[in-house]
Amino acid sequence: MEVNITINGSEHASDVEPRTLLVDHIRRTVGLTGTHVGCDTTSCGACTVLMDGTPVKACTVLAAQADGSEVTTVEGLKGADGLHPIQSAFTDDHGLQCGFCTPGMMLVGASLIAENPDPSDDEVRWAISGNLCRCTGYINIVKAIQTAAARVAESSNGS
């Protein structure tokens, strides 16, 4: 069936089988491989993308369900002015090691700070509790999301 999904601002019209998972569509048809697959049970969040601004696990959404949606993947975080604050904060605070969970963590983080400009440690931990990381122990991920929030707040105060 024909689906038309806007991914990172570009429209992608494709013919897909109804059973095609959104994550496979993004990775295999569109060719954006920054979105990962880490489990089969909607448990790990490595496949997280933003669907119309809301973080969802793309392994548990059919591509057909995303027809007409705006999807943001990790490749779409960077803007015209360079890296998204969440991306530079992950580097600055050593919020990643192997990097496999990182796209999902950053997208959830970006979505959180868009709604909550000053999240507490508990609020960040709660927000990322649908995403697993095996390397970092989460501490620096939490820190990075808070750093990004502070930087966004600072730049919007400054402007």
Partner: protein
């Protein structure tokens, strides 16, 4: 901490440099296995046994073959025609690639479908009919060794029972004598449950074999690409010069990506036969049920102690559950890895360790999950025993440790099982951690809480690891000596490329190894590109596991950089018209002793190495070093955990976790701390929730992330980190390795804390994972 000797712009040892690998990973430009998309790639799916033990009477793959898009169904019989139905394991056993006679565990590989699309390959699996004849499953090693138990390995010549191996070490006579002199014997029987490393990226392969040229390019999630190339050559008979293993970005390894799995062999054979690339990426369930389990040790430890709390000796009996094939990735000499490091951080003269392993109808593995070959089990046992001994003697568990520690002046110290610990200051480490956590106050609060009916527990673990295998006289895997290498080439403009035999899976080698070179040569770390993982472009080495990258590969890097520094000094002397011995090098500047204004930079020297040399010197500035470490390194740490236990439900919560690590010199403190936080989390996971178990039919419970519990940020405790820095005396830069310390050391600290909360009731053991029902039952039983 020792202050860095190089300025920040050079970024040598001691700088918390930002990671060079991050740039691609934060933009989704990493190149993980499943991201590799070669033209004409076929996809493989594996049919696995639903039964734990059954004879295969036949496989009907006709309907699967008929499915549109299916190119081949590979069975054990087909593999057998090519001599590949069985393969050797890393412990000298053999393992079925695709089952020909029996299936011996749930999840065992039975057949594989090769199709044009992964969805179709999965569809075809459902069309394969296997005629199984069920056999009684054996799900515990105790059952397995009973008289009359069904023989699991009936295909193995000379095998008449289910015993996989026996091994003993230490001095039995001296240990008996020590026990005869003891005032009391403290005994602990405990099971270190089966676990799985479960990196977030599962294992996978893209095998691309050109049928005309014979060139085999094999992309693999491999922690040890060079060892895998050599083993592929030995097992599959492919000429080694035609094998190129490329290990791309790896989404975590933790030991899971050390072995060669049946799926790799089948995909490679399929690519060879069909002449197209074949990709296989495990599902999470495949990962958890079939590849690389860890632990599963049943341990009985006995400590001989005096009434003054002095340890006189240790006796350990261990029974391991090996699953259906004995395939521990471990040094050949040692049948239970480095489990004999079980004497821990303590000074006592006698120990005897008696080990045996049994086959069961479970997945094989025995990988060193964030662990240097069974050190995790050993560290857990001794630290649990010492706490129990303190309770029996009637002294504080911290005091018990302080009375028995190997003292700083005793190093180098030979343990009762033959390790030569090179350095350490254990009392300072423990006292520092105790001061930080406020140990005396906590003990008072604990007593007050008890009076109110609240249960607070304080658990200590002081671990010593033996990592960085290892010296070639002792350490090999499958005959391959456990050396490692580094090749360094400085280009004419003074930029460098460093090539490693080890392979990062997230540890940050591209940054830290550049820092080692920056430290020695003064080339800015950001001007040094680190390459690893591609066997055609890097020197040979045994790979990254057992915390060996920094101890062995890092040493090789320092040594090769020093070789270039020596040559550079001669070139500098030539440029400065000074004597070789008068040249001093600091932060990339070569100057003449006594006349600091006469100097050239490493960049000047690099250009001269290709343009302006002293007479008789060979052009170029490059070299390679193969490093054979003189000893292992011995990182240690003192961890203290505070918990509160809900007496009504057994639910426990971590209140504090103070972790002091001494890993010697810290190349990049930020990265070191990141490693420690990750390791502590996995230690917490094993103590609290993360395990694989089986029902009596041999069905795996823990086959996906709904049942195999990996903690989220919400459950994970907050950690408070501390450090001391006693350098390794024999490592070129004094580093000891750190990636596994926290996973090795912390489980005992968490469990000890829970036990400590209920120890006054008489509780001395709760097996991991310390599930709330186990805690509640222990309280009920004791009171």
């Amino acid at each position: 901490m020792v202050a860095p000797t190089t300025p920040a712009e050079i970024g040598g040892i001691g700088h918390s440099l930002q990671r060079k690998e991050d740039a691609r990973l934060i933009e989704g430009q990493g190149n993980f296995l499943d991201d590799i998309d070669l033209p004409n790639t076929l996809h493989m799916a594996i049919l696995r046994s639903p039964l734990a033990h059954a004879r295969i009477n036949g496989i009907d793959s006709e309907a699967a073959m008929a499915l549109d898009g299916v190119l081949a169904v590979v069975t054990g019989d087909l593999m057998d025609q090519h001599g590949l139905a069985w393969m050797p394991t890393l412990s000298g056993d053999t393992q079925a690639v695709l089952a020909t006679d029996k299936v011996r565990y749930q999840g065992q590989e039975v057949a594989a479908v090769i199709a044009t699309d992964p969805y179709i390959a999965t569809d075809a699996l459902e069309l394969i009919e296997v005629d199984y004849e069920e056999l009684p499953p054996i799900t515990t090693p105790q059952q397995s060794l009973e008289e009359g138990a069904a023989l699991i390995r009936d295909e193995k010549e000379g095998q008449t029972d289910n015993l996989a191996y026996t091994w003993e070490t230490g001095d039995q006579g001296a240990t008996e004598e020590a026990f005869a002199k003891a005032d009391r014997v403290v005994t602990l029987e405990t099971h270190y449950p089966r676990s799985h490393p479960a990196p977030l990226e599962t294992c996978g392969i893209v095998a691309d074999i050109n049928s005309v040229t014979g060139q085999a390019t094999i992309y693999m999630t491999s922690q040890a690409p060079h060892a895998h190339r050599t083993l592929f050559a030995m097992v599959a008979g492919l000429p080694e010069q035609n094998i190129r293993i490329v290990s791309p970005d790896i989404g975590g390894g933790f030991g899971n990506k050390v072995p060669i799995y049946p799926g790799y062999v089948v995909a490679t054979a399929a690519s060879l036969l069909i002449g197209q690339p074949v990709k296989w990426v495990e599902s999470r369930t495949e990962n958890l049920i079939s590849t690389g389990f860890a632990r599963d040790y049943y341990m009985k430890g006995e400590l001989a102690v005096t009434d003054e709390g002095r340890i006189l000796g240790l006796r350990v009996n261990m029974l391991s559950d090996q699953g259906a094939f004995y395939s521990d990735a471990q040094p050949t000499q040692f049948r239970a890895g480095l489990f004999h490091v079980v004497t821990g951080s303590y000074d006592f003269p006698a120990a005897h360790i008696d080990c045996k392993g049994a086959f069961t109808n479970k997945a094989p593995g025995g990988v060193a999950y964030r662990c240097s070959f069974r050190i995790t089990e050993a560290s857990y046992l001794i630290e649990r025993l010492v706490q129990n001994a303190a309770y029996e003697v009637g002294i504080d568990p911290a005091e018990m440790r302080l009375r028995n520690f190997i003292q700083p002046e005793q190093f180098p110290y030979e343990t009762a099982t033959g390790f030569v610990y090179d350095s350490g200051d254990y009392p300072t480490a423990l006292r520092t951690a105790m001061d930080e956590v406020g140990y005396e106050d906590l003990r008072r609060e604990q007593a007050e809480a008890r009076a109110e009916g609240r249960l607070i527990g304080i658990g200590i673990a002081h671990f010593t690891e033996a990592v960085g295998a290892g010296p070639s006289r002792t350490y090999d895997i499958a005959g391959l000596k456990m050396i490692d290498s580094a090749e360094l080439r400085v280009h004419p403009t003074g930029k460098a490329i460093l090539k490693l035999g080890v392979k990062t899976q997230g540890q940050g080698h591209e940054t830290t190894f550049a820092q080692i070179v920056a430290e020695v040569l003064g080339i800015p770390a950001n001007d040094i590109k680190v390459e690893h993982g591609d066997t055609n472009h890097t020197p040979y080495g045994l790979g990254t596991y057992a915390s060996r990258s920094t101890p062995v590969g890092g040493a090789a890097t320092a040594v090769v950089a020093r070789k270039l520094a020596d040559k550079s000094k001669k070139i500098a002397a030539h440029l400065l018209e000074a004597a070789d011995e008068d040249i001093e090098l600091a932060s990339g500047v070569f100057s003449v002793a006594g006349s600091p204004d006469r100097s050239v930079t490493i960049q000047d020297v690099a250009l001269a190495a290709y343009t302006n040399l002293p007479e008789g010197m060979e052009y170029g500035l490059e070299d390679v070093t193969y490093y054979d470490p003189p000893n292992l390194t011995y990182p240690y740490g003192s961890y203290i955990v505070v918990v509160e236990v809900d007496p009504d439900t057994g639910v426990w919560q971590v209140q504090r976790m103070v972790a002091l690590d001494d890993c010697g010199v810290r190349i990049n403190p930020m990265i070191v701390e990141g490693q420690i936080c990750g390791g502590l989390t996995e230690g917490f996971a094993m103590s609290a929730m993360q395990w694989i178990t089986f029902d009596e039919d041999g069905n795996c419970i823990g086959a996906n992330f709904m049942d195999y519990l990996v903690p989220t940020a919400w459950e994970t405790p907050r950690f408070e980190l501390l450090a001391t820095e006693v350098p390794s005396p024999h490592h070129p830069i004094g580093a000891k390795g750190v990636g596994e310390s926290a996973t090795v050391g912390s489980p005992a600290a968490f469990v000890n804390a829970v036990i400590d909360a209920v120890a006054h009731l008489g509780v001395r053991n709760i097996d991991m994972p310390v599930l709330p029902d186990r805690v509640w039952a222990a309280i009920e039983e004791a009171s």
